[in-house]
Symmetry: C2
Subunit: 491 residues, 2 copies
């Protein structure tokens, strides 16, 4: 065994200290070569006046060890405290949330006794970038951002996970029939990268049908990769279907730092009673051991845990299948320790192998594409205007494309909540006070032309001169000749 690997450990709040103590005891008994550095995060730190819930010396530990085993924490209600998980995840770039969801029937009652799947959720982008604006009296906006490197990172991680864990199929779920550009990019990157993993079966499902199938036939899934919001929803669905959220582990993987934690909360109502179930955290520690290349210890711990469950030992949150085998936290850990070196007989034993060093064997996680030839061809200007018809607005705007200064644009259409209302709108279309006005660059003969930034500035200046309340802009660009903007509904 080499030197001990330093890891950062936070006991957390509520039941955290109990389940972390039990987990570390099992790891030690199994011979894990780890050197924990304990940091304090969560409730005490928040209430001590640090709204982020983590002190700067704790950041330093995380950035040094790059491995974080974290107990559940309590975020106090009110007071503007930020989610520590979101902060750590986004600041340290933990791009992949990996959640195995496995049934353990008959030990754990479930309608889906054979399910065994892993959800690989993108963890940094999508609507969770938190970029929101109120734009008019009536309209609020949130930006959904999907990026090519973000898609490449998560999709490649899903396939690498599948390969190194002996998984056979990766299912991609998006809503690209509606969001053709953003979710379309995710799907496209999936199709590009899957070609590098010919031994793994693949499929794509629209998220609505996919979630419905997952809810009724979880057995048919193996690995699922999906953007952030969908992953948030389906990982809760899958965990619930197993019959116990209390057993589910998770890994948050980054290029620099990774974090391992149970998916359950801090359960303050049963804290300090010695009854909590350490399984979710213990199985998260197993994922950590694989990550730090102590796969033999991970295998030993996981098989001993499976054997203990199979032998009917459970904590009080589960129904025992054998009389008298409900144990407290410490006794359950002891039952696992007693079985170190044994394998389960009904459940399938696990066998982790140290993954090859990714950088030595696989393509890079993502590549920076060569910049495309970008050409601005127009601009969407959003206008706040109440009590105005689309036709009236269009009349004003048509003049303002060349007055007071000729700006070189023509008004192509106006939409309201995405529906084209000019030219040729329907009176039945409901209109808010938020109008998207699409101006395309045109020359003196009305032919399309490339525009530049100063043309757009001039157009905005013209709108201001007439007192129009423009509230936002979106450039319309072509990338290598491909339009980088969607048509309006009805256009």
């Amino acid at each position: 065994m080499p030197n001990k690997t330093p890891i950062t450990v936070a006991y957390g709040d509520g039941i955290g200290p109990e389940i972390m103590a039990a987990t570390l005891r099992v790891l030690e008994a199994a011979g894990a070569q780890i050197a924990p550095e304990v940091i304090e995060v969560g409730e005490k730190v928040y209430l001590g006046g640090n709204t982020s819930g983590i002190a700067s010396e704790s950041w330093a530990s995380l950035r040094r060890t790059k491995v974080f085993l974290k107990g559940p924490i309590t975020t106090p209600q009110g007071g503007g405290y930020k989610s520590l998980n979101v902060t750590i995840r986004k600041t340290l770039g933990l791009f992949a949330n990996v959640r195995p969801c496995v049934s353990y029937a008959p030990a754990v009652a479930t309608l889906h006794p054979t399910m065994n799947l892993v959800i690989v959720r993108e963890n940094e982008e999508d609507l969770y970038a938190g970029i929101e604006h109120r734009q008019t009296d009536e309209v609020f906006q949130c930006l959904k951002l999907i990026t090519r490197p973000g898609c490449e990172k998560i999709v490649r991680h899903a396939f690498e996970y599948a390969r190194s864990n002996g998984r056979k199929k990766v299912t991609c779920m998006t809503k690209d029939n509606i969001m053709k550009m953003t979710d379309g990019l995710f799907h496209k990157v999936f199709d590009e990268i899957k070609a590098e993993y010919p031994e793994i079966a693949t499929e794509h499902q629209i998220i609505d049908i996919g979630t419905a199938r997952l809810a009724t036939q979880p057995e048919r899934y193996d690995v699922i990769v999906t953007p952030n919001l969908y992953g948030d929803i389906i990982s809760d669905v899958a965990a619930e279907l197993t019959g116990s959220v209390g057993l589910a582990p998770s890994a948050n993987i980054g290029e620099h730092v990774s974090m391992f934690e149970a998916i359950h909360g801090s359960a303050p109502d049963i804290a300090g009673q010695g009854t909590a179930n350490p399984s979710g955290l213990l199985l998260s520690a197993v994922m950590m051991l694989v990550h730090i290349r102590q796969s033999d210890v991970a295998t030993t711990v996981h098989n001993a845990w499976l054997r203990a469950i199979e032998d009917g030992f459970v904590t009080g949150d589960l129904k025992p299948t054998v009389d008298g085998r409900v144990l407290g936290t410490e006794a359950f850990a002891a039952a696992v320790i007693e079985r170190l070196g044994q394998e389960p007989r009904q459940f399938r034993p696990v066998h982790y192998a140290d993954a090859p060093q990714p950088r030595a064997t696989a393509k890079p996680l993502y590549t920076r594409a060569k910049p495309a030839a970008k050409r601005i061809v127009g601009v969407d200007v959003f206008v706040h205007a109440a009590d105005m018809s689309a036709d009236f607005l269009a009349g004003r705007l048509a003049t303002l494309t060349h007055q007071p200064k000729p700006a070189g644009f023509g008004l192509q259409m106006i939409t309201n909540r995405g529906v084209k209302v000019w030219p040729g709108g329907f009176s039945e279309t409901f209109c808010t006070d938020h109008w998207r006005c699409r101006f395309m660059g045109v020359d003196g003969d009305g032919k399309p032309r490339t525009v530049n930034h100063i043309d757009i500035v001039h157009l905005l200046e013209n709108l201001v001169s007439d007192g129009l309340d423009f509230i936002k802009t979106e450039h319309l660009c072509e990338f290598d000749g491909e339009p980088g903007f969607a048509l309006g509904q009805g256009q």
Copy 2:
């Protein structure tokens, strides 16, 4: 009985003609006072060169009758054909998608025999506005728009539906712990409107937990109201849980026009065989009859259908509970017709009452709020820049706030995918080529000031003078003194 009510009918594609004929036969036998105007939509219209799938004279019929009973249609693959449903829904303002999801065990096998819920899905806004832009080499964006009148319309419709259908509880599902402004508005409007319906119990759930609960305990829900995307997902989950998507009806309700259709597709593989199940369309027609105030006929048809199912009659898509009772489409319709006037004995009979004219009794569906005092306090400018550090970009921008022209702004922060990277960023944060630069209005002493549109134009002009590639803007406003923009993650 008064004069016959004109309705627009489209037989649709695939199994559409068979199930529509069966449905109209049942309605006629039950004494429905309707005068169908038949229009052609779908495959033939698309392939005839109309990319919208509907001809202008058909629009005229819809706008005249305001009631549309629609068979399933086939959208040809490729060729840029637009979804007819999306076009009709958005152009005619069908804001509410109402989907009852009911189990009919033992006639239909399901793990959830007692579920009986209705999903009321917002149908016009959210990410489905279809406003997408590619902004840089790496980053694609979709706008999520949530509006106050949109929220009021759908929430009020859900409560009115609950009240007139004897439902006891309305559950609201959002993700307002992350999207505090957009989903926060939906939740806030729910809280405002629920106070007007004191006899109806209410609850709010975060969509991830809510979907997981729905998937495992659908029995606990009654009416669920939710924004468009979440509604799309959970209505498929709920339909699937009932055991047969083939029985589920839907209504798309607008202020002017409403559309009724089964949720299943056109099933071209079994078209023309006379085996298709007309139940989804028939139950949609029941919803239509209630809508056009022929509730007695709706009650008669629905109870006869329940009795037929209870008596063991099914079409070939379902497993019969009594031997030899698998019927074709027409024979199944005949079995329903034979039972007109009868009530089911195990299933609970339905009893529809004509709803009071909404306008006479309830508050208006939505109100236009008095405009707030709006004040611009800054602007987010998004910049496309590759191979540039946040610190370097910040240095350039800090100068450009007052050169060449003093524009009266100070650079407050830079984020990348929503994470603050300046000032005080972490090297571990992954940065794309898409930077959001927040400028706040400041006066000569560095104190906050109100800015106007021309100040923003000048700021953009300064950026252009330095060759910076700005790609979009978002004004930062206060409404009645409340900030209309979210902080950056880590700010």
